[in-house]
Symmetry: C2
Subunit: 131 residues, 2 copies
DNA sequence: GTAGGCGTTGACGTCAGCGTCAAGGTCAAG
DNA sequence: CTTGACCTTGACGCTGACGTCAACGCCTAC
């Protein structure tokens, strides 16, 4: 398939696909007229990239997963490099959550001091990471 | 005082001060030679801006606080506009926390599926917003 | 007079992940 | 032959809060 079809099927823009290629995440064989030609495997690569981006990963983070899929593994997470990225990201997220909770407390304290009686919102999210 | 001294005392760069001025957050009277001259009140403005930025506010968010201080209030948070920003920011932070908790759960699930036995880290932060 | 330490404005670079032209080539349908 | 949908590369724009450099003026000390 060509870039337009891949874009539609993957739910991304053609610009994004060319960008991924420029960043070395995907490649495409070229037809005689210079058009990019993609396979079903490429669709899977792009889908993997997208799902990673939507959970906050960067393209750099996605590299090991793409490499893993290209190496023939069924899941992009089957390789130790990918697992390592998962672990690193998890730690990153935990750090950010901690930072935000700290900030929330600070801001709430300031608000409470500036406007006693403004604190009607619920307390910080406890552990509802399921929804 | 001139810009260098204010920068040192406020712990920011001169570039940042000129940027704040460009954005209309602070102003400076000019000496005969064109140098910016600041007062102690300006130091307070910059300090307020800095403390807001460090808790994740944008310069835009800081405007009402600066205006409040300029209006003669002792605290930048004494004005209803500032309080409104606090409330909005609080909601923003809560949203981000929720997003991160959701992501954390997703990533943890993926990690667990890809590498059963890798989950030794502590569960998501519960409610430790005090430290 | 000159070194150097301050100040001035202006303008481009940074980070990520693209959006959005610009200017053109390719190909099938009418 | 022409329209129009598709493709190509290249390059600037965007967001925020500045960093960094250029090229220059001011002022003090030696």
């Amino acid at each position: 398939m060509r870039i337009g079809e891949l874009a539609r099927r993957a739910g991304v823009s053609t610009r994004a696909l060319r960008y991924y290629e420029q960043q070395g995440l995907i490649t495409a064989r070229r037809a005689a007229n210079g058009y990019r030609e993609y396979s079903e495997a490429d669709l899977r690569l792009v889908t993997e990239i997208r799902s990673l981006l939507t959970v906050g990963f960067t393209l750099e983070d996605a590299r090991p997963f793409v490499a893993c899929l290209r190496a023939g593994h069924e899941s992009g997470a089957s390789c130790p490099e990918s697992v390592e990225v998962y672990r690193r990201k998890l730690a990153e997220i935990d750090g950010e959550i901690h930072t935000l909770l700290t900030r929330r407390a600070e801001v709430a304290a300031q608000l409470g001091a500036a406007c006693p009686g403004c604190m009607f919102g619920p307390p910080p999210d406890r552990n509802e990471g399921e929804s």
